[in-house]
Structure formats: structure tokens, C-alpha cells
């Protein structure tokens, strides 16, 4: 079966089992802050406090001469944490219980995991936009229209990379640990705390070979610079998203049958 028909088949399976997908996603989200006092509000509180911490850090403790630097930070921060979470590769291993004991489309485990993190990002952007609007910043509405598009592309990329890395992690557990460390590095070679244009020499080379950069830059364009995003960035992120998704799906579907025995 070629990869495209397999993906279509899988889409059907997942749709037929959407109850399970939603249940798992709900389990991840609802369960997360369940035992706390404010509960669900944490989903909003968390990004707001994150932004607050970063703003305080870079306005008072280590001031940057950039105007409204907090918007820049917030716009880039969340995509990086989101994608790196999906690359950590724990999705299948952490849900071994389901894989070995339940008959259902196994991709649901990966998708629900990515979806859970994705909801966090969406929450975060909603907060940012509200704050931007409240503080009377300039908003380019045409650019803003591209935000959901880019979010979807990022979701695709994250799903693909999660398929890929979590499949490898099933067979080689070391990969999961390695990726956790590698993701720490990624934060520093992606323009989140610095401007892409500030990168010089070797760093500039690395930054533009780093796929994260293109997603982050699109968000920077939309939210911080208030423009329509660079078209080449958009195109590259489309290519990255589709490519990664196909690669990840191909690897996943090639090896998923072995999961219950190996886990």
C-alpha cells in the first residue's frame, strides 16, 4: 500500500474512532491541572505567567533595547516549545499501556498527544492576541489571517516529527533521551531570544538551516512586525510541514505492527 492511500485509510480509521481520539485528548488536557484549586484556568494562566516572566527578565533584569520585546519573545517561544515537545519522542512509549492492550488505530496515541500540546499553543496565541489588542499595538489583519494557516502547518510538522521520533524511540530508547537534550540546544539556535538578523557567522548559517526558524519567523512577522509574512518563509514552512508529515507517517506505518511486541 503506498503511503498516500495508507494515510487516507488512517484518516478514515481515526475518524471512525474519533470518540477515542477525543477521549484521549481530553484525558491529557482535563487531567493535567485536575487536582489544583483553579483547575482549568491554568491553561490560560500558564502562558500569561510565562510571558510575564520573560517580559520582566528582558525589561528589568537583562534589558534589551528593543521596543515591546515581550511580543517578540511570546510569538516565537510557543512554537518552539510545541515542536520540541513533539520531537521528544515519548508519545508511544508513555502510552505503551494502550498500545499493548487495546485494539484501535495506534496513530491516535500520537495524534492526541500532539493535539494536547497544540491546544496549549492555541490558548497561548489567543492570550497574546488579546493582550496585543488591549495594549493598542498595530495589527495587520491580512497577516493575522495567515496565523491559523501557519498553526495548521506547524501542527502537521509536529505530527510528522512525533511520528518519526516516537517510532524510533520505541526501538531505540536512547533516542528519546538524546532528543530531550537536543531540544535544549534548539531553543538557543532558533531566533527566540535574539533577532534572526543579529545572528553572525556560524550561528547565522545554523539558524537558517534550522527548520524551526521558518515557523518562528512567520509568527514574528505576523505578531511582532505586524506585516504579512515573508512569502518564502511561508512556502518553506509548507514544504517542511508536508515533507515531515509524509516522512513521519511512512516510518510510523512501516513499523507500527511491531509496537505491541516490542513495548
Amino acid at each position: 500500500m503506498n503511503i498516500f492511500s495508507r494515510i487516507i485509510q488512517s484518516a478514515k480509521d481515526v475518524y471512525d474512532n474519533r470518540v477515542i481520539l477525543l477521549a484521549m485528548t481530553r484525558r491529557n488536557t482535563a487531567g493535567r491541572y485536575k487536582s489544583t484549586y483553579v483547575g482549568f484556568i491554568w491553561h490560560l494562566l500558564y502562558p500569561i505567567l510565562m510571558i510575564a516572566v520573560l517580559t520582566i527578565t528582558f525589561t528589568y533584569i537583562r534589558p534589551r533595547p528593543l521596543e515591546d520585546f515581550w511580543i517578540y519573545l511570546a510569538a516565537g517561544m510557543f512554537p518552539v516549545t510545541f515542536i520540541s515537545a513533539s520531537l521528544r519522542g515519548r508519545a508511544i512509549v508513555a502510552n505503551a499501556n494502550y498500545i499493548t492492550k487495546m485494539k484501535f488505530p495506534r496513530e491516535i496515541v500520537v495524534i492526541s498527544n500532539v493535539l494536547t500540546d497544540f491546544l496549549g499553543v492555541v490558548f497561548a496565541y489567543v492570550c497574546i492576541i488579546i493582550v496585543i489588542l488591549l495594549s493598542g499595538q498595530y495589527v495587520n489583519w491580512w497577516g493575522m489571517l495567515m496565523l491559523p494557516v501557519e498553526l495548521i502547518l506547524m501542527l502537521l510538522f509536529a505530527t510528522g516529527s512525533s511520528f518519526l521520533v516516537s517510532t524510533i524511540t520505541v526501538f531505540i530508547k536512547d533516542v528519546g533521551y538524546f532528543m530531550t537534550i537536543a531540544m535544549r540546544l534548539v531553543i538557543w539556535i532558533t531566533p527566540t531570544f535574539f533577532l534572526a538578523s543579529e545572528a553572525k557567522g556560524l550561528l547565522s548559517l545554523i539558524v537558517w538551516y534550522n527548520p524551526f526558524t521558518y515557523f518562528v519567523e512567520v509568527f514574528h512577522d505576523i505578531l511582532y512586525y505586524g506585516t504579512f509574512p515573508h512569502v518564502e518563509f511561508l512556502l518553506i514552512s509548507i514544504a517542511l510541514a508536508v515533507g515531515m508529515f509524509l516522512l513521519g507517517a511512512a516510518v510510523f506505518f512501516r513499523y507500527e505492527k511491531k509496537f505491541p511486541e516490542v513495548l
Binding site: 474512532n17 470518540v19 477515542i20 477525543l22 477521549a23 484521549m24 481530553r26 484525558r27 482535563a30 487531567g31 485536575k34 487536582s35 499501556n97 494502550y98 499493548t100 492492550k101 487495546m102 485494539k103 484501535f104 505492527k257 505491541p260 511486541e261
Partner: protein, 665 residues
């Protein structure tokens, strides 16, 4: 059960990659893996309405099998066809989120089984009620005990709709009430046309719940059949298997340790090893295993370590060991001297060579045994009594072989001795044998043999056997199903239970010179319940025409029935045959009846035999040897006529002796 096949497995093969133990040390970096077969050739058809239990050791592939049937794992070779919707409940605690409440987890789990949210909410109240978790339902699941968790999980399962249910280790947790509720639910499922497969380590659960079981061992289905048969075979294999026992013993199971000790003692599946025997015996005794404590105490006694032995006896006695209690009491109650005196007296009797003297001494030694040597002596004397045909000696020897006391356990010999006693009328032997065949604890279960022996016991009025016969007849176990006959046996059983009172009533009637007809009715009723003495008494009345119409045929019929039991009915029957025995056609029968009655201890039979030898009727005349032998036996067993004769002999001898003495002087 319908014939519709729900699951069909054909030629299933599956192997796993496992790390080869022999190569573990070769490379630190890449462990070599080898293919290890889980299933080699499994064929199975499960029909609609089956509750199939799956048995086997840990790691034999029970769970893998369920996973293959539920198509989580694919087989390497062969096909698995499943006709219908499958719900696999492979682990009850799967997918609970500790921070969510029981209520939320019910919803979550139901959704994981694919039940839409609206439908779950609709049934939520009934699920909560079924789970019986009461106020805890809104608390986070992490605060639940494991039993509560499985209750919660099972109540969700109740709501899952499917044709085939696969349940792994489901009923092993939770309290008794819930376990039986759950097992009833599985039965309900089957009644409503579903099919259930489940694994459990609790053999009782499988016996109670399943109609069919398979036993997986050595990569294939070792046995497939009715649940109780498979469970029995499996548990026997565990009890008899040396390797299993070693594993269990190392795991700290005192009963396994004791069993292992006996393996080393008897050389069962392993070479005899006294040191290992003692080691495991001590281990088991440390864990308060009563038999082990008692056995170890015996050993300490024979080593002269009395103090230690006494402590062990006390421990065993406190743990309910009857023998240890007796030994402890004997030694503590300072009755040892009295006992030894009694033993001396009884041993003196055995010089006569009469079988009952040999038996009586053997019996005493058996009952009062303090050391293995005592048992050995009991065994020797009982063997001598048995050689002389004493029925009760065979009964006791059978029990000793069964329990491995005084002799190594040997079920074949146990059966042989018990059958010999049973054939000659020992109702106790009949019922022990029947039980052995029936509960299959010591050997392969055999309903046919069990029924045969229960029937024998029942026909001579043993109440338990009568009940058992009735039950087996109504269930069709070991015999054709026959509700009518079952009814009759139930009636006899319930009648037997009041025979004591009938006897009292009869005696009272006679003492007060009451209505003789009433008394006769009571006798008839007792005889109808197969009470052998009453049958004999009634037969005598028929024979003599006392209170009844004289009927030789009726008397013989009754006596033939009663003569299954040893003793007096046989003698009376033999006497009737003797009267009719004009052409010697009954010779053999008469001799057989009298001999066996005598071996059973019936003094009248001994007397009759003695007379036969004296006059040379039927048998060859033997006025000195056998005549005197039987006559003395009869006298000592209380036959009055014989006593008179023997007394005359003795007087004559005494007079002769006195005369001789006076002549000499």
C-alpha cells in the same frame, strides 16, 4: 450451546525476539536476540455461548493468545478469524487517570471502548450503582484501592456492547461479593448469546465460571475440555511437577516446601536426598506448616531431641494437626507408660496368629503411633492380618498407602487394598474409594468408578453414598441420567437419616409390648432404605414366617441384597443355601459367603465354618486344624455355642493335665 463458530484459530505460530541468556555476556552494547517460539501450532474453535477459561503458567502465552485473538498482535503464521465485535478487556486498570474522579474515569474509559459520550452519560447512573462505590465515586481514582479500581473497571465493562469478550486476569481482585457478581455477569453475557474468553490464576474462578477450558503449555494447547476436568489436570500437574514445586517452594509457599520435602524423601521426580528432605521440611516447619512440623517432630523424637520435638508437636497441634495433638497429649499427659503397657498386652495376643489379633495390634500401633517406626510396625502387622484375609486390615492398609504412612505413597496399592476391602463388604472402604475417584485429588478423576463404589455403599445403607448416587444419577455423572432412579435414592437417603429413631421406636414398642404391626412397618421401612441389619432381620422373619408370610424366596432376595455388606447377612444367606443344598450346587457360593463373612469378623460364620470342617461337608474334613482354628476364633469373637465347645475342650485338657501330674507323682 449453539454450533456457531465465533473464533477460529488455525495453525497459529508466533515467536518473540528475546535476549538469549547464553549470550548475555558476549556483548555489552548490542544484546543478541534470538527467536523464541510462543506458539507452535494452535488450533481452536470457540463457539457461541462458550465461556472459555485459559490456564497455564506465567509466561506460557495466555495474554499473548488473547492479544492475538483481539488482533493487537499479528501471528507469524496461521489465521485467526473472528466473527463479531470484540471487546478486549486485557487489563482492568488500564487507562485510568489517577487525578480524575471515578465518575470522570467511567466516561473516559467508556469512550476508550468506543462508546459515544451521550450514551455513557445516559447509563452513568446504572454504571455507578453497579460499581457499588457509593460516596467514593467523586473522589480521584488515585485514592482508590486496587479492589475498588477493578470494581470501577468492571462496571464499565458491563456497559460495553460486543459479541466476544476477552478478559485477562479480571476477577482476581476485588472482594468476594464483587467477584461473584462479576462472574455472574460473565455467565449472563453468555446466556444472552455472547462469547467470553478469560484467563485467571484462580482455578476456582475458572471452575465456577467456565464451561470449557484450555491449558496452554509447551507452545501449544495441552488440553481442551470441560473446565473442571482441565482445571483438575492442571492443578495435578502443578502438584506433581518437581520444577513447579521447586519454584513455589523458593517463593516461600510452605505447602510447596513440604511437598518438595516429600519428593526428596520418596525420590519422586528427583533422586532421594535426605539432606534436602530435612532442609525443606525445616523450611516448611518454620512457616508453621502443620504436617511438616509434625514430621520434623517425629524425626527429632527418633534422634532423642525430645524438647525440640515437643515444641514442634505443640506448634503443629495448635495449627490443627490431629496427630500432633494426640502425640503431644500422650507425652504430656504422662500416659506413655499406660500406652506401652497396652501395647505389650496386645502384642502378646498376636502370638496366637489369629488375624484379628494381628489386626488389633496393628490398629493400635497405627492409632497411637508416635514415631515412623511405630507406623512401620503397624504396617507390618496389618500386612500379616491382611494375608490371613482380615477385611479391616485391607481397609487400613489402603488408607496408609494413600497417605504415605508406614509405607511410601502408592495409589495403585491403595486402590487394590481398598477395593479388596470394599468387595468384601467394608462400607467405609467403599466410600473412601468412591471419594478418591470422585474428587480426583490424589489421582485421575473417574466418575464411572466413583459411581460404582457409591452405588455399592448406597445399596447397604451408607447415607452419604445414597445421596451421592442420587446426585450423580440426576446429573448423569458416571452413569446414564435417570431422574426417576435419582428420586428413589433421594428418598432412601432421607429415610436413612431417621433410621436411628426408627430403631429406638421399634425397641420401645417391643419393650412396652405395643402394636406388633407398627413395629413390623418400621422394620420394613428401614429395610427399604437398605439398612443391612434390618434387611437381615426382616429376611429371617420371612424365612421363619414370624409376623410375615413365610417366603424363602423373599428372604433370599433380601439377603442377597444385604450381603454386599460383609458379616451376618452373608452367614444367614449361606445357612439358607445349606438347607437347600441337596446336590451340592451351592457349594462354592456357601464357602465364599462364609469365608468372607468370617474375614469380616462375623462369629456365626466362623462357627458354621468350623462345623463344616468338622463334618467334612462341602469342604475336606479337618477335625484337628481348621475345625479347631475356626471354633476358637468363633469363641473368641463371642459365639456362644463355640464358647461352650471350647470351654469343654479346655476343661478336658486341664483334667488330662491334672491326671498326668497325679500319675507322675
Amino acid at each position: 450451546m449453539s454450533e456457531e463458530v465465533m473464533i477460529r484459530v488455525k495453525g497459529l505460530k508466533k515467536s518473540y525476539q528475546i535476549i538469549d541468556a547464553s549470550k548475555v555476556n558476549e556483548s555489552r552494547f548490542f544484546k543478541k536476540k534470538t527467536e523464541y517460539p510462543v506458539f507452535e501450532n494452535i488450533n481452536l474453535e470457540v463457539r457461541k455461548g462458550d465461556i472459555l477459561g485459559i490456564l497455564g503458567r506465567n509466561g506460557c502465552g495466555k495474554s499473548t493468545f488473547l492479544k492475538i485473538v483481539s488482533q493487537i498482535i499479528e501471528p507469524d503464521e496461521g489465521t485467526v478469524e473472528v466473527f463479531g465485535k470484540v471487546a478486549s478487556i486485557l487489563e482492568l486498570s488500564m487507562g485510568f487517570h489517577g487525578d480524575l474522579s471515578g465518575r470522570d474515569n467511567i466516561i473516559l474509559r467508556s469512550e476508550l471502548y468506543g462508546i459515544p459520550r451521550e450514551k455513557v452519560l445516559e447509563n452513568l447512573d446504572s454504571i455507578i450503582e453497579y460499581s457499588d462505590l457509593g460516596v467514593y465515586i467523586d473522589n480521584p481514582v488515585r485514592t482508590y484501592s486496587s479492589g475498588m479500581k477493578s470494581r470501577l473497571a468492571f462496571s464499565v465493562m458491563v456497559n460495553v456492547d460486543a459479541d466476544i469478550f476477552l478478559v485477562d486476569e479480571a476477577l482476581s481482585t476485588g472482594d468476594m461479593a464483587f467477584a461473584s457478581k462479576a462472574s455472574e455477569h460473565l455467565k449472563d453475557l453468555v446466556r444472552s448469546g455472547k462469547t467470553v474468553l478469560f484467563t485467571s490464576h484462580s482455578m476456582n474462578t475458572i471452575k465456577r465460571t467456565c464451561n470449557r477450558a484450555i491449558w496452554i503449555s509447551d507452545h501449544t494447547i495441552k488440553m481442551d475440555g470441560p473446565a473442571d476436568e482441565v482445571v483438575d489436570a492442571y492443578s495435578r500437574s502443578i502438584n506433581d511437577s518437581f520444577d513447579e514445586t521447586v519454584a513455589l517452594a523458593h517463593g516461600g509457599s510452605s505447602s510447596a516446601q513440604y511437598r518438595l520435602a516429600t519428593f526428596y524423601r520418596d525420590g519422586n521426580g528427583v533422586e532421594k536426598d535426605r539432606e534436602q528432605y530435612l532442609f525443606w521440611l525445616q523450611e516448611a516447619a518454620k512457616r508453621d506448616h502443620p504436617m511438616a512440623m509434625s514430621d520434623l517432630a517425629d524425626i527429632r523424637m527418633s534422634e532423642g531431641r525430645t524438647e525440640e520435638a515437643m515444641q514442634l508437636y505443640q506448634g503443629a497441634a495448635e495449627n490443627g494437626n490431629y496427630e500432633a495433638r494426640r502425640k503431644y497429649a500422650t507425652m504430656h499427659g504422662d500416659t506413655l507408660d499406660e500406652l506401652n503397657e497396652l501395647r505389650e498386652i496386645m502384642k502378646g495376643f498376636t502370638e496366637s496368629g489369629y488375624p484379628y489379633d494381628l489386626y488389633n495390634y496393628g490398629n493400635l500401633m497405627y492409632k497411637s503411633a508416635l514415631t515412623p517406626d511405630d507406623l512401620q510396625e503397624a504396617f507390618d502387622y496389618l500386612c500379616q492380618a491382611s494375608d490371613k484375609g482380615w477385611v479391616d486390615a485391607d481397609l487400613l492398609l489402603g488408607q496408609m498407602y494413600r497417605d504415605g504412612k508406614g509405607a511410601e505413597r502408592d495409589m495403585d496399592k491403595a486402590i487394590a487394598y481398598l477395593s479388596s476391602a470394599g468387595d468384601r463388604g467394608s462400607s467405609k472402604a467403599m466410600s473412601i474409594l468412591a471419594d478418591l475417584y470422585y474428587d480426583g485429588k490424589y489421582m485421575e478423576r473417574n466418575y464411572e468408578e466413583a459411581f460404582k463404589w457409591y452405588m455399592k455403599g448406597a445399596s447397604i445403607g451408607n447415607p452419604k453414598s445414597q445421596f451421592q448416587v442420587a446426585v450423580m444419577l440426576s446429573a448423569g455423572e458416571g452413569t446414564e441420567k435417570d431422574p426417576e432412579a435419582a428420586k428413589e435414592w433421594f428418598a432412601r437417603y432421607s429415610s436413612s437419616m431417621v433410621n436411628d429413631s426408627r430403631k429406638t421406636a421399634m425397641d420401645t414398642l417391643r419393650a412396652r409390648r405395643g402394636d406388633i404391626n407398627l413395629s413390623n412397618d418400621l422394620l420394613k421401612a428401614m429395610s427399604r432404605s437398605n439398612h443391612p441389619q434390618s434387611m437381615t432381620t426382616l429376611a429371617k422373619k420371612y424365612r421363619d414366617g414370624k409376623g410375615f408370610k413365610k417366603s424363602t424366596k423373599g428372604a433370599i432376595d433380601l439377603l442377597s441384597k444385604a450381603s454386599v455388606s460383609g458379616g451376618s447377612p452373608r452367614t444367614v444367606l449361606a445357612e439358607m443355601y445349606l438347607e437347600k443344598n441337596e446336590d451340592g450346587e451351592y457349594n462354592e457360593e456357601i464357602l465364599r459367603l462364609l469365608t468372607s463373612a468370617a474375614e469380616y469378623g462375623d462369629a456365626a460364620a466362623m462357627y458354621r465354618l468350623a462345623l463344616l470342617y468338622k463334618d467334612g461337608i462341602i469342604v475336606e474334613q479337618d477335625t484337628d486344624g481348621k475345625y479347631r482354628y475356626y471354633m476358637r476364633m468363633a469363641a473368641e469373637n463371642g459365639n456362644r455355642d463355640a464358647k461352650d465347645i471350647v470351654a469343654r475342650w479346655d476343661n478336658r485338657t486341664a483334667r488330662r493335665k491334672a491326671k498326668k501330674e497325679t500319675e507322675q507323682s
